[in-house]
Amino acid sequence: MRRVACQNRRVSPVQAVRANTVLRLLAPMLLLCSSLFPVYSAAQQERPTEAQVKAAYVYNFGKFVRWQSTAPATDSFDICVLGKNPFGSALQNTVSGEKIEAKSIVVRNTTIMQNDARCRILFISSSEESRLKSILTLAQQSNSLTVSDIPGFAQRGGMIELVSQEGRIRFEVNLAAAGNAGLTVSSELLKVAVKVIGTNQAGEIGR
């Protein structure tokens, strides 16, 4: 179990160093050489980023969810991002020029909850995870569709949770939470969801 005495090695030091040096300098070159191939720009376009796909989802959710007519009337369809913005410019690029409920879409970044019900969609960033419980409590009074990629969001009372599965982005729906806020979720959305928890009391779903 304990060390035994060191043994001396009789190898030409110069040879050993030279061989080692050549290999050691060659190996990193292998990593660098690949950068010189311009071939993979095609591959670049095949792979969107997480942010782009999530932005596309948020836009789609706006199209497949119906708000009550008693919800406050607004000039624009507001999508509020609460906390650190994970989309970069992707969300803005996705919604520019588009309309939902015949209104143009506005993306707003906020760090504090605005419970004046102006946000149709409230995206809660993962930076707000520690405040999630209080955010969801406030959101209940505002008729907003709450969306997030915080793990366990749907289980904790959020309406739509974006999940990562094997390199793909999918979503789960908490129907009870949506129903309690007076939102109607289209059956087309529910069909594609990987998980739907809580059924609406009224039992009726769909457009």
Partner: protein, 680 residues
């Protein structure tokens, strides 16, 4: 000597890596912002189903768990492990900066964090899913019995340095926490088989399922590994193992969650040991199989009572059977740990906990030169900790301080205080500083252990032995560690983390000669004895740093790299009786380590990973500096099938990484294997 020119070329190759890469690649990475706009436009045309089928690239983001930690933490992700083609936990640890992993032979590794690497790794706390696998028999971890299905590993969190108050005892130079996926993430079936020349064969099967709100999985795995290269032909280190286990997770409500998990294993690990006995033949090298078997079962309950407020209770039992050629350890360990977090006004979060571990060991004598006295024995370890985290400026400045209280069967009450500061000046950078006083508690190996070594024959024909006698006064080794670290998100694609440390050690393990040789009649027959014991006669400092960038260079190319630097100055304490073991300790840890993992995503689900590492010389082990490279090709043929081919240690036919085995250095062979994985 070789070392001077080697450290010069080491620096050169390191510089080459760090400088040349940005020069080549900046133009490529700037190209694509206009393409991004086009892409978002085409994405919104897709149906929901189509969106769900797209493969995405994830930007290199500062991992959330790591960002707010005031410690030098590195997370080896599941993806990094899968793509690198490593087949065991010790090999996976090579992917973290600051960790020295040297493979001794087929089934043994020398591992250390920031110095003191050795076969048993005495100053690093190692856990698997919260269960400590550190043995208090010999102070260390038996790496050859720490295994699981590699695909089930969610991540390995490696903390360099003392890490803080909440970690269990003996987290002196680091903490390694292997975390497996919850059962809800391993649903369905998985079967994988691989074969090669060194990794001769390995099969894993795992089945996961769900019953109501209970998720479960069960697995079985077996492998056969060939001996490594032996210049004297003694191929003693064949390794065969079988292991099985299960995990059950029950999320009873939003408040309570329960977990039950367990494993059993049975292995034949070939080894070569020196067996000493007072009767002829006095010293023999035995090349035999060690029969290692055992199992564990762990239960955990967690209740979440509020924001950042929870209570956890964990209980585990471990049985270890080690039948080695020169000793036997039959051990039962019971452990219970309690942890609670709650908030106080003025933005404080209190974490406190209690722990108790009882370990009963039976070590029947195999050779007379290696004994434990008294036998059997029960050791205990009691701990408590208290930590206060204060948010001085919300989201900007946080201070945490606390202490651990430790009491073992060998020592009185010891305190391990720690203070940490975390400063977040902007959204994209954090700076942290820490001071910790940590101790490594004594083990049976120092206090209850007699180990003899045969020196020769005296002129009068008597056999002459040296023996390390039990030292009941062996104290804990102590560390005062000062650390500093910085993390930065440079743009959305580059994440940089660096840390530096200065550790001052005292009462370090030393090998002391306690008197002049004398004639001893017992144990018979009469012989001459040189008395020795393990003492606390060394002290010294270590310092150094690590830098680890992670760069999503292009959407299809991710680069992870690290450079670690270590300087050790260990010497005898005044009046120490140490025989001069300090240079050997200093010379067993590398001064420089470089690692790069370059991952490419090609079309049609193909991935290529190139791993390169450089480790500088270990004069204390007679090991020259070496470089090594692995290539891992993966092909996701369909949603269900994955093929991979991995070549390991490709740069030389064989190379040595560490000593310790009797005889010439065992060298690690160049090898390759192919693997097929099926998933439902």
């Amino acid at each position: 000597m070789n070392t001077l020119s080697q450290s010069g070329t080491a620096r050169l190759s390191t510089l080459l890596l760090l400088v040349a890469i940005p020069v080549f690649l900046v133009p490529l990475s700037l190209a694509d912002t206009s393409e991004e706009r086009e892409q978002t436009n085409s994405l919104k045309e897709l149906s929901l189903e189509q969106l769900g089928n797209l493969q995405v690239t994830t930007a290199s983001k500062g991992p959330a768990a790591v960002w707010k930690t005031a410690a030098a933490i590195y997370v080896i992700t599941h993806e990094a492990i899968l793509r690198s083609g490593v087949t065991s936990i010790p090999e996976a640890l090579r992917l973290a900066p600051g960790v020295e992993v040297a493979r001794i032979d087929s089934d043994k590794w020398s591992i250390g964090i920031r110095g003191f690497g050795s076969r048993l790794c005495r100053s690093v706390l190692v856990l698997i899913d919260g269960r400590t696998v550190y043995t208090t028999l010999l102070a260390g971890t038996y790496w050859e019995v720490q295994d699981t299905v590699m695909d089930d590993i969610d991540r390995i969190e490696v903390i360099r340095g003392p890490g803080g108050t909440i970690w269990g005892p003996n987290a002196v130079d680091g903490v390694i926490d292997v975390i497996t996926k919850p059962a809800s993430d391993t649903q369905g079936g998985l079967a994988s088989a691989l074969g090669g020349n060194v990794e001769q064969g390995s099969v894993s099967v795992r089945q996961g399922g769900k019953v109501g709100s209970v998720d479960y999985r069960a697995y079985a795995k077996g492998f056969n590994r060939a001996a490594q290269f032996h210049s004297d032909g003694r191929e003693f280190d064949h390794w065969r193992a079988m292991q099985g286990g299960f995990r059950i997770d029950w999320a009873e409500s939003q408040r309570d969650a329960f977990t039950l998990q367990g494993d059993i294993y049975d292995e034949r690990a070939g080894e070569s040991v020196v067996a000493t006995s007072y009767t002829p033949p006095y010293s023999q090298v035995l090349d035999r199989n060690a029969l290692l078997s055992g199992g564990n079962i762990l239960g955990r309950w967690k209740r979440v009572t509020g924001e950042g407020e929870d209570t956890q209770l964990q209980v585990f039992y471990d049985r270890t059977n080690r039948y080695e050629p020169n000793f036997t350890d039959l051990r039962d360990t019971f452990d219970a740990d309690f942890l609670q977090r709650f908030r106080l006004p003025a933005r404080q979060q209190i974490t406190w906990g209690l722990g108790a571990r009882f370990s009963h060991g039976d070590n029947p004598v195999v050779v007379s030169g290696l004994t434990f006295e008294p036998n059997p024995r029960t050791d205990h370890l009691l701990s408590a900790f208290l930590q206060d985290e204060i948010s001085i400026v919300d989201h900007r400045l946080a201070l945490s301080f606390g202490t651990k209280f430790l009491k073992t069967s060998f020592t009185g009450l010891e305190l391990e205080p720690s203070a940490r500061l975390l400063y977040t000046p902007t959204e994209t950078q954090t700076l942290w500083a820490a001071f910790t006083h940590a101790v490594r508690t004594p083990s049976d190996a120092e206090e209850n252990f007699s180990l003899a070594g045969y020196i020769g024959t005296t002129t009068t024909g008597l056999p002459y032995f040296a023996r390390f006698n039990p030292n009941k006064n062996f104290r804990s080794e102590e560390l005062n560690g000062y650390e500093l670290g910085y993390r930065r998100l440079v743009g959305p694609r580059l994440y940089l983390s660096m840390s530096t440390f200065y550790n001052h050690y005292s009462s370090l393990f030393s090998e002391d000669i306690t008197g002049s040789p004398f004639i001893e009649a017992n144990p018979a027959p009469t012989h001459q004895l040189l008395p020795a014991e393990f003492g606390n006669g060394l002290l010294g400092t270590t310092s150094g740093g690590e830098i680890a960038p992670e760069w999503q260079v292009t959407p299809f190319w991710r680069l992870r790299a690290s450079y670690s630097f270590l300087e050790m100055h260990i010497k005898r304490a005044p009046n120490s009786l140490d025989i001069g073991s300090a240079p050997g300790i200093e010379g067993s840890s590398p001064r420089h380590q470089v690692l790069t993992q370059s991952g490419f995503d090609l079309p049609k689900g193909v991935s290529v990973d190139l791993l390169y590492r450089y480790v500088s010389a270990l004069p204390g082990q007679a090991i020259r500096a070496y470089s090594s490279a692995d290539v891992a090709l993966g092909w996701n043929v369909s949603r269900q099938f994955r093929l991979s081919a991995v070549g390991q240690n490709l740069l030389q036919p064989h190379h040595a990484e560490f000593g310790t085995d009797p005889g010439p250095l065992v060298e690690i062979k160049r090898g390759a294997y192919a693997q097929i994985t099926w998933r439902r």
